[in-house]
């Protein structure tokens, strides 16, 4: 009994993150930047800039600072976007990656975001959501502010959210975003404990 308690205390808090966004927005690249560098370097060589379109989804588990992250890297292709909603219920944070150079498809991203936010599993749960305005290196890219205006992010009032510009090729801006997320996320274990307590009170 005591041993189990000590084990659970020593274990890093586990956070499940859902990574969504349109196809070609750079979700897999963002995750590649999040992963500890040595793993990437060991597996695929020094510069892992090339990513192939994700099919279905991929699960990445890794340690980030003192958090144990489980990322669900969803495919953004329109035929796989219907998979997203199956993962809404068990996550503690959402990463929404935007291609800030693809202005014409911002309306599609907005539509998908609205679908996501209006889904009952997300709507009932005030989990934080971070928007990575990716591809800041491209000449015609919009600023993070423009992105948030196009997506009408100010209409999200029931959960913490944040927009951060980034460049998933160089890793610029990713750390800031994840740090924000780490501040606002409620790890699964503590949440479970809270829920249990609530139950007992009732």
């Amino acid at each position: 009994m005591l041993r189990r308690l000590s084990a659970s205390l020593s274990k890093k808090p586990e956070v499940h993150i859902l990574v969504v966004g349109l196809d070609n927005s750079g979700k897999s690249s963002v995750i590649a930047q999040l992963k500890p560098k040595k793993v990437v370097a060991g597996a695929k060589g020094e510069a892992k800039l090339e990513t192939t379109p994700t099919v279905g989804f991929q699960v990445e588990e890794f340690q980030y600072n003192n958090l144990s992250l489980t990322c669900f890297d969803m495919s953004g292709q329109s035929r796989y976007r219907s998979l997203w909603e199956h993962y809404y219920s068990g996550v503690e944070a959402i990463i929404f990656v935007l291609d800030s150079s693809d202005k014409i498809r911002m309306c599609v991203a907005k539509n998908e975001l609205e679908e996501l936010l209006s889904h009952e599993d997300v709507n009932a749960n005030p989990i934080p959501i971070i928007f990575f305005a990716n591809k800041m290196d491209i000449k015609d890219a919009m600023t993070a502010l423009e992105c948030s205006q196009l997506l009408e992010l100010d209409r999200i009032t029931n959960r913490p959210w944040h927009v951060t510009p980034c460049n998933a090729l160089t890793g610029e801006g990713i750390t800031e975003g994840v740090e924000w997320l780490a501040c606002h996320v409620q790890p699964a274990s503590s949440k479970c404990k809270q829920q249990r307590e609530n139950h007992r009170k009732m």
Partner: protein
């Protein structure tokens, strides 16, 4: 309701093109771009929200008639063909690459012979041409220009001018489309198909350097649509200017083409043509869209009436779990209607007339609809993932209304009803005759009554004078009653009321009455008004005069009291000015001076106090 996402709207794009002048094609780098053959003799390329390239066509070229993207070889390098005049300009990597010229039209044999002969004088040439023309030969423009020239010098000048030019005439490409060569995969080689003013349909090699085959159709083609693969089996549907749709297909052996019967007779000029699975949809200039079966005898499956003329028709293939193909019909009233088979599933309101429309992959997004309006604006609409064009998903009318399926509540036939039927069957002639007799009687009665009314009407004024002569006192009231009609009503709940009077001249009075006073007489303890009397405006036969009095109930505890309303005659014995008896009344003026022309008592409602 509208499922479309409004991706982009550029009012100032300044695109001037018609239905065939825009296409979604790959230009370079894998992403779908919009290519526009602009009337300004330019090839314009749009990517995302901006124009990325603009290539001028050669200065001698004409207004482009069509644009299409195709693949010339297995290298998957996209090429763009722009049809302008007799030429198809091919661009590759946004650079001019090659030019194909449609074969010129050979002059009529007789005509050519006339022009070739060296020894004929200009006058002889003209006579020979006139003879050929009379025989029904189709003459070229040079001969047609020659026919009306009568003076020797002009004829000679014309002959000298044109003799250096070959007798063949350049044609013009009217429409273009593409046909896959060997396979229908996305980047497979494809052939450009051209329709020309010389009534030819030409299938080009993928390299666009020579024709694979050509067919002559009975009229110049207006719209081309292709289906299938050239190497396997293919069809080219040609809507021609003779309001017929011809089918061109593979001939007896590969590389040949023939017109396959039966052709489709349209009721009006074609405005749009689309091939979907086993059906051919044709929009015609009489604002109709008809669907024909491609198999067999091409019988019409259905025909839809549109509220406005059709400007464009296009297919949109929605690739989702289930592939759905919907028909888009752009109308001259600024609507784009979405049909699934014959059911209207959505209406997109553009509020501008769509000049050109295309759908496909734009950027990375499939299911994109591109609209170019007559004002030159560019609209990009995208279809969200969740959009379903389900029948009945919109309130717009499509198909039969649901009420049609509800059975009517028809009562059962009773014994009495059946007996009645039997009786009517047995005595039909007698019943009919009785009915006729009664109907006739009714008509006579109506006519008599009408006649009576008319007689009374015209006789009335005379009657009045006659009566007045006899007996004034009584009749004055009668006359007054006959002269005026007074209707009064009370508006309001209290304590403030409006009394609205309507006074009109009765029938029979032909002269107007002027400035008649109206007086209210009421209990001053109960009611109060600032204006107990008023003057009526000019009373004209047939038009009512209105007067409104505001009256206040002072003492609400007492029961309501009636108010008397009187319309008085003039003080100078002119009460019955209009009733044609001035002379007589002069005498009795003293008696009747204060007599009202008409009076009425108005029952006032009890004032309801607000607590």
């Amino acid at each position: 309701m509208a499922p479309w996402l409004h991706a982009h709207y550029d009012k100032l794009a300044g695109i001037r093109a018609h239905a065939g002048g825009i296409a979604l094609a790959e230009v370079e780098g894998g992403e779908g771009a919009l290519v526009v053959a602009d009337y300004a003799r330019k090839l314009r390329v749009f990517k995302g929200t901006r124009q990325t390239a603009e290539i001028p066509l050669p200065p001698s070229s004409e207004i482009p008639s069509g644009v299409c993207g195709f693949y010339m070889d297995d290298k998957k390098i996209p090429a763009i063909g722009v049809a302008s005049g007799p030429h198809l300009y091919v661009f590759r990597c946004l650079r001019p690459y090659h030019k194909y010229t449609a074969p010129p039209v050979e002059a009529d044999a007789l005509e050519a012979k006339v022009w070739r002969s060296e020894e004929m004088s200009p006058a002889d040439i003209r006579t020979a041409l006139a003879a050929a023309h009379a025989e029904g030969a189709k003459l070229g423009p040079r001969s047609l220009a020659m026919l009306p020239l009568t003076s020797e010098s002009k004829q000679r000048a014309h002959v000298e001018r044109v003799s250096k030019i070959p007798t063949t005439v350049e044609t013009t490409i009217t429409c273009t489309t593409t046909l896959p060569k060997a396979s229908e995969e996305p980047h497979a080689m494809s052939c450009v198909v051209l329709g020309t003013e010389s009534r030819k349909v030409i299938v080009l090699e993928p390299s666009a350097k020579a024709a694979l085959c050509e067919v002559e159709v009975p009229a110049p083609p207006a719209i081309l649509r292709a289906a299938g693969c050239f190497d396997v089996d293919w069809r080219v549907y040609v809507a021609c200017r003779d309001a017929r749709v011809y089918t061109i297909t593979i001939g007896d052996h590969r590389g040949t083409a023939v017109i396959r019967k039966p052709h489709l007779e349209l009721e009006a000029q074609p405005a749009g043509l689309v091939v979907k699975d086993k059906h051919l949809y044709v929009a015609t200039a009489d604002s109709r869209v008809a669907c024909y079966l491609l198999k067999g005898r091409r019988h019409k499956v259905f025909s839809l009436a549109m509220p406005a003329p059709v400007t464009n028709m296009e297919l949109l293939v929605v690739r989702k779990a289930r592939q759905v193909t919907v028909l888009l019909v752009a109308l001259a009233n600024g609507e784009v209607r979405v049909y699934r088979d014959k059911d209207l599933v959505d209406v997109l309101r553009v509020n501008e007339v769509v000049a050109a429309m295309t759908s496909g992959t734009y950027g990375r997004e499939d299911n994109t609809l591109i609209l170019v309006t007559q004002n030159g604006s560019l609209l990009v609409k995208m279809l969200p993932r969740t959009a379903t064009f389900e029948v009945g998903s919109t309130t717009a009318k499509g198909g039969p209304p649901p009420e049609q399926d509800v059975p009517l509540d028809i009562p059962k036939r009773t014994r009495l009803y059946l007996d009645q039927i039997d009786r009517e069957k047995a005595n039909a002639p007698a019943i009919f005759r009785t009915f006729q007799k009664d109907a006739l009687k009714l008509k006579i009665a109506t006519a008599t009554a009408y006649l009576q009314l008319r007689d009374d009407d015209t006789a009335n004024p005379d009657d009045n004078t006659a009566n007045d002569d006899d007996d004034d006192n009584n009749n004055n009231n009668n006359t007054a009653a006959a002269a005026l009609t007074l209707a009064a009503k009370v508006n309001g709940l209290g304590p403030f009321f409006h009394i609205v009077l309507e006074v009109r001249l009765n029938a029979g009075l032909t002269s107007p009455l002027r400035d008649l006073p109206v007086v209210l007489s009421y209990d001053p303890d109960l009611y109060r008004t600032s204006r107990p009397a008023a003057t009526l405006p000019l009373l004209i036969p047939g038009i009512a005069a209105h007067a409104i009095f505001e009256i206040e109930c002072i003492d609400e505890s007492k029961p309501a009291h009636p108010i008397a309303i009187s319309v008085l005659g003039h003080e100078e014995e002119e009460e019955e000015e209009g009733s044609d008896d001035d002379d007589d009344d002069d005498d009795d003026g003293d008696d009747d001076g204060d007599k009202p022309l008409v009076s009425s008592t108005l029952i006032m409602p009890q004032s309801e106090t607000l607590d």
